[in-house]
Amino acid sequence: MSARRIAAVARRIVEQFRRDRRTLGFLVVVPLLMLVLIGYLFQPQGGASREPVALVNEDQGPLGGLLAEALAGTPSLDARRLSAGAAEAALREGAVHATVTFPATFTTDSLRTQRVPLAIRLEGSDLFVNASTLGAIQRASVEAVSSALARSPLAGGRGGLALEISYLHGGADWGTLDYLAPVLIPYLAFFFVFLLTDVSFLRERASGTLERLLATPLHRAELVLGYLAGFSVFAVVQSVIVVGFALTVLGLKHAGSPWTILVINVILVLGTVNLGLFLSAFAKNEFQAVQFIPVVVLPQLLLSGMLIPVDALPDLLRPLAWLLPLTYANEASRAVMIKGASFADPLVLRDLGALVLVAVVLALAATRTIRREVA
């Protein structure tokens, strides 16, 4: 093992990419653009949105009318009182997202069974609209009950139900991007570095320079370490810029230290370089190398806890999630950025340990594939 040869490989990679301005820009500017885009996409809309809902009261007794009035008065709903037919038509036209119906036997049913049978019918064509409409109706129900309580003799005409919400982690002022950034930053780093190493090592092989390198005193492990060292320069630069941009320009909230966030990213990216080197052995050309992107990148998007918490994954998929490096990076990154954990936190330590292990295993695997292809 010669440090001089490893350094020569690393220096060459840095020089090559320094000349390739476009790829450098790709590595740094594109992740920033994506952060901005995603941040803008998930920006809270101006003011609390009121969900358009039709209220249909067919109750023969007095309770339906009372509740409908209370619901219509709540700030969560943009409610209109309609007949059953008009409500159904409004739902079909898209004028309302849901109809809430008090059936003819509402009063009698609720007196008899002590339950309040509200019939909610959703427009249903959009997952997000469904969720926000349901949420608004539930909120409005609490608000309606609360205002009814306030008017009851029990409270003496004052008071009522008030939800006082406080957060152990995060907070009411945390936006969607504040919650997403801890997983977005590692994901972007992973994606771009993987793409770059995968294709650049493939080029080494396809152009014949790998053949030439292996006919010099350079050993395979030195080649892998040289790549690792060379790309880690860009990995560090990229992580510093992306994390710095997210925390200062975008003003994202973070409970933990930016340095801890950086270290997690850099270790993740080192493993990613090895993954790129390893997988490029199985591609014959650039086109095939690009085919690895959906294979490698998509499962990590779905299973690493970015969109669905790992604990909530189906039993069959959960073990798979723990094989993916991004799962550990996300967990650690969330712990640091949202919960304010530090290196001393056992969870962060465990995740970093797992990332280091992944990097070492992949480095060995990459070294082996270089041998296999030559012999």
């Binding site: 040869r5 020089e15 090559q16 053949e211 030439r212 390198l213 006919a215 010099t216 005193p217």
Partner: protein, 241 residues
Amino acid sequence: MRAVGAVLAVDARGVGKRFGEVEALRGLDLAVRPGEIYGLLGPNGSGKTTFIRAVAGLVRPDAGVLSVLGTTPRGAVDAGRVGYMTQSAALYPELSVEENLAFFAALAGAADARRAIDDALAVVGLEARRRSPVGTLSGGMRQRASLAVTLLGRPALLLLDEPTVGIDPALRREFWTHFRSLTAGGAAILVSSHVMDEAERCDRLGLIRDGRLIAEGSAEELRRRGGAADLEEAFLRLAAN
């Protein structure tokens, strides 16, 4: 060039190599002496490139004994005593000629890299383009740069796999002048070629077919043995036997 004394540059005895179903080398016996240019000739797929790659330590034979400069192929490569020029001018296009040379010099562990680079550039006549990115060079210049990389560290054995493919006749002649001056210094050259006027310039020739050496000797001897006036005809006759 370093003195290699009586040690053979390449000593292959019964070398065999199989890639799955294909038997690329079948008991090849061949020796390259110090100070000679040995030409490897044969049709496509005859095993020329596999043999050169085996000598460069890139392919491990699965039969026979192959020693290079008195040691194993990998041992000779690790000692920086073997220069290998691949068929394509495999260099980094973004880097300048000089940077490419500096990189390979660092890998080869050249004692005085600065001087090794200057020497190699002088031999191939690329001093004026030393700062040009390789990607901006013409095909012939790229080939020269590739040869310059091979010459770094003054190897005792040069392996040239079809070094003059796609090169104009003037440059080809120039290359052969370099080769000759290198062997005058004691280096050995193992070169594969398709081109017959190149074959004429080799000290000895080996004709390979189906992974075996079927004829060996100087161009003159082979012509005589094939009973033909020109080398190409002689090869066709020898290969047909």
